[in-house]
């Protein structure tokens, strides 16, 4: 055990530092991405804990770990694991392994937004999972005023082998907002907020609309702490809602 603690201590201390609080990524802590990849040759670990509450069942706990690598200029790749534990089912799920690719097409130039896209492939490693979960996300980031920014994410999701009663294709959209807090006197934190609408996977269910609010804070030259809360505020055709979802995370670059 001591050795394990020592190894984890060494790992953390050697990583303990460049993720950038201004560079916003899905899950940390809300659902939207900005249109910028991590830097070329950057390596980053992102750790997150989440708690999803539901009206009709007990909460679900999630623990997401993602590794990213700046493959080339404006491009990164990632691999993520997100085991979960369902309190109502009293069992855990190793979850799908997600492999992602992000490509920043252009930065914001004059009045034209920054544009990017990302593709994620979920491998069916989770309990009862079948087929591949594919997601294509188009991303635009544009200034709003001087320092504030809006981010539009449009998602097309597909499962290659949907289960009975499940949709093969779903769509979603997130409108994100970010605002550095404290300028011009401090430069280490960004407020984030979003409004998302996501089509349910279940045929017959409609859309879920949600809002989120969070904060990303630089805690060292290489590390960012994030915290966020999301609430599903409406659903159509009986789609399941999560009244509150908490997320807390820590990202380090090295």
């Amino acid at each position: 055990m001591r050795r394990l603690l020592l190894i984890s201590g060494l790992l953390l201390s050697s990583l303990a530092f460049a993720s950038d609080h201004n560079n916003i990524e899905a899950g940390r802590p809300l659902r939207f991405d900005d249109a910028y990849s991590i830097a070329f040759r950057e390596r980053a670990f992102e750790f997150g804990l989440s708690l999803d509450t539901f009206r009709r069942r007990g909460p679900t706990y999630g623990n997401k770990t993602e590794f990213k690598y700046g493959l080339a200029k404006n491009q990164d790749i990632s691999v993520a694991f997100e085991p979960t534990y369902s309190s109502s089912e009293r069992r855990g799920d190793i979850g799908n392994v997600e492999i992602g690719y992000f490509n920043g097409l252009r930065r914001e130039i004059d009045n034209s937004p920054a544009l990017a896209y990302r593709v994620d492939v979920g491998l069916p490693t989770g309990r009862g999972a079948k087929g591949l979960d594919l997601r294509f996300r188009g991303i635009a980031t544009k200034a709003l005023g001087q320092y504030d920014k809006v981010h539009l994410n449009l998602d097309l999701n597909m499962n290659t082998n949907p289960g009975p009663g499940e949709r093969r294709h779903t769509v979603g959209a997130v409108l994100g907002y970010s605002k550095p807090l404290g300028y011009p006197r401090r430069f280490d934190q960004t407020l984030v907020a979003d409004f998302a609408i996501q089509q349910s996977k279940n045929e017959g269910d409609g859309f879920v609309g949600s809002v989120g609010l969070g904060l990303r804070r630089q805690v060292s030259p290489r590390a960012v702490f994030d915290i966020g809360i999301t609430s599903d505020i409406f659903s159509t055709k009986g789609a399941e809602r999560s009244p509150v979802r908490f997320a807390i995370g820590y990202s380090v670059s090295f």
């Binding site: 920043g104 930065r107 914001e108 130039i109 200034a143 300028y183 011009p184």
Partner: protein
């Protein structure tokens, strides 16, 4: 010894020749009247739409700057100034630069962030218009920080650090945004129709910029080959000087040059010193372009791209330092003072003789105190940092006596008998010295100045001094001195000292009464 004496005579003769020029008008470049035209071979990346963020070289020394917390915070704060000023300029708020923007920058410089600042996030409007320029700045700033980190890293020897600095330079140079490490003609780079606009119209903000260029360059001699434990104490002196004086100077003739502030580092890594100076000159060019109200937005965009082009490494491929034949006072003039390869060609320079702001005309090949040529090879003598300048001297006596002539605190960095142990002496306001080496002993047998690097030396141990004396019996009757005994000596200004008496090439009027041109 004969050789040293001969060198001394030669130096005095050459200084005499230099003095013959007094009264002559030093030829500086005339300001150009036409805007520079867009070159045909502009690199394609300037039009590339990507953000192209680059990560620094992964290494164990990254962020070692935080081992000197006050210095690290001051360096982080420097990221704010240009970003805020550029943002104000592109948002049409130039009229606030000397008031509101100055106050805001100054507040940050006094209340520094604890972590590095994302300059692009502070200047989003500027970034949308001049994103290609940010790539050049960011990459050069990365080199700045990483070289500092290497020197501040406690785990490596000086030799390992020097090799890593060379690797960092290769890592930096591999990107198309890299600024050339060749010396450039600073007079030429400051001769365009828009040149000097910013420093003339916005002297307070320009003072801040040049103040932190002072900080960004003075630190290298504070760190280079200095044991990590002896770095932070020097910053107590330099940091105080930075906050009290250097940030608020509005009377500099020109931006601080790396070789003026850190001559030891600039001699060892001339390509990096030159790249930093070329970077700082690019900053000045951009300031001037953005501050020029007569230029249209399109003209500003074009001129900023041309300014970038001028200093890119890719613009000067296959060119060599020192080369200028037929290209004097042009973009491809890479002359440098013969004894200082890490310094571009300055206004009015003649070989090693150049004008240093606040000091007057200095000969970079000679001791700043006794005017005798610097000895070749190691030990290289010492440097003295005081009143914002850093000067090279031949020996410890010259260092002490020069520091003694200067008010305020001073730092001496001197060679010892051990090439791996640099002596760092720091004085308080009263001239009381402290040493980083316990038991340091000095040899000083006052004699002819051309031989001072032989009879004025420091030794890490008494045994080392005795060994030196046994090899040099002319010192056998000389009493070893401890720090207090040595510090109590003072031989004043040596009779070999020669003032170079010529007018300031930047401004009319007499040269300064003190300093090298005293």
């Amino acid at each position: 010894m004969k050789a040293i004496t001969l060198l001394g005579i030669t130096a005095i003769a050459s200084l005499g020749l230099a003095q013959d020029h007094s009264g002559h008008q030093m030829a500086g470049m005339k300001k150009q009247t036409e805007l520079p035209a867009m070159p045909r071979d502009m690199p394609a990346w300037l039009a590339a739409p990507g953000a192209d963020h680059l990560f620094y070289k992964a290494a164990p020394y990254n962020w070692a700057i935080n081992r000197i917390p006050k210095f690290a915070k001051d360096m982080y704060a420097t990221g704010v100034g240009h970003a805020m000023a550029y943002e104000a300029l592109v948002r049409g708020e130039a009229s606030t630069l000397e008031t509101k923007t100055f106050d805001t920058i100054n507040w940050v410089l006094k209340n520094q962030p604890a972590m590095p600042v994302d300059e692009g996030a502070i200047s989003p409007t500027f970034l949308r218009k001049y994103g290609y320029l940010e790539k050049v700045f960011d990459w050069a700033h990365t080199l700045h920080f990483q070289t500092i980190d290497v020197f501040a890293h406690p785990g490596w020897t000086d030799e390992q650090k020097e090799k890593e600095i060379e690797r960092l330079w290769a890592f930096y140079e591999a990107q198309p945004y890299a600024i050339t490490g060749l010396p450039m003609n600073m007079d030429y780079l400051d001769s365009f129709s828009y040149s000097m606009k910013f420093r003339t119209d916005y002297p307070k903000v320009n003072g801040l910029f040049w103040g932190y260029h002072w900080l960004q360059t003075v630190n290298y001699d504070m760190l280079y080959r200095v044991p990590v434990k002896d770095q932070a104490p020097q910053y107590e002196v330099l940091g105080a000087r930075y906050h009290e004086t250097e940030l608020y100077k509005t009377d500099r003739d020109f931006m601080p040059m790396t070789a003026e502030m850190s001559p030891r580092f600039a001699k060892r890594f001339p390509q990096i010193a030159n790249a930093f100076d070329n970077l700082h000159m690019l900053h000045d060019n951009v300031n001037d372009i953005l501050a020029q109200p007569q230029l249209t937005e399109a003209q500003k965009q074009e001129q900023v791209k041309i300014a970038i082009y001028r200093v890119l490494a890719t613009t000067h491929i296959s060119e060599t330092p020192g080369e200028s034949e037929g290209k004097e006072n042009s973009l491809h003039d890479h002359r440098h003072p013969p004894s200082m390869p890490g310094m571009g060609w300055m206004k009015g320079s003649e070989d090693d003789i150049m004008w240093m702001s606040g000091m007057g005309w200095m000969d970079m090949s000679a001791c700043s105190h006794c005017s005798i040529p610097m000895p070749e090879g190691n030990p290289w003598g010492a440097t003295v940092s005081a009143e914002g300048w850093t000067m090279m001297v031949r020996c410890l006596m010259c260092a002490r006596d020069m520091a003694g002539e200067t008010p305020g605190r001073a730092i001496i960095r001197a060679a010892t008998n051990d090439p791996n142990r640099l002596l760092v002496l720091i004085s308080d306001e009263e001239g009381n010295w402290t040493s980083n080496i316990d038991g340091i002993v000095f040899l000083e047998k006052y004699g002819e100045h051309p031989e001072c690097s032989g009879w004025s030396r420091a030794f890490t141990t008494l045994a080392a001094l005795e060994k030196y004396v046994s090899e040099n019996p002319e010192y056998k009757d000389t009493k070893p001195l401890n720090l207090a005994e040595w510090a109590a000596l003072n031989h004043g200004t040596p009779d070999t000292y020669r003032k170079i008496d010529k007018p300031n090439p930047y401004k009319p009027g007499p040269p300064p009464a003190k300093g090298g041109g005293r």
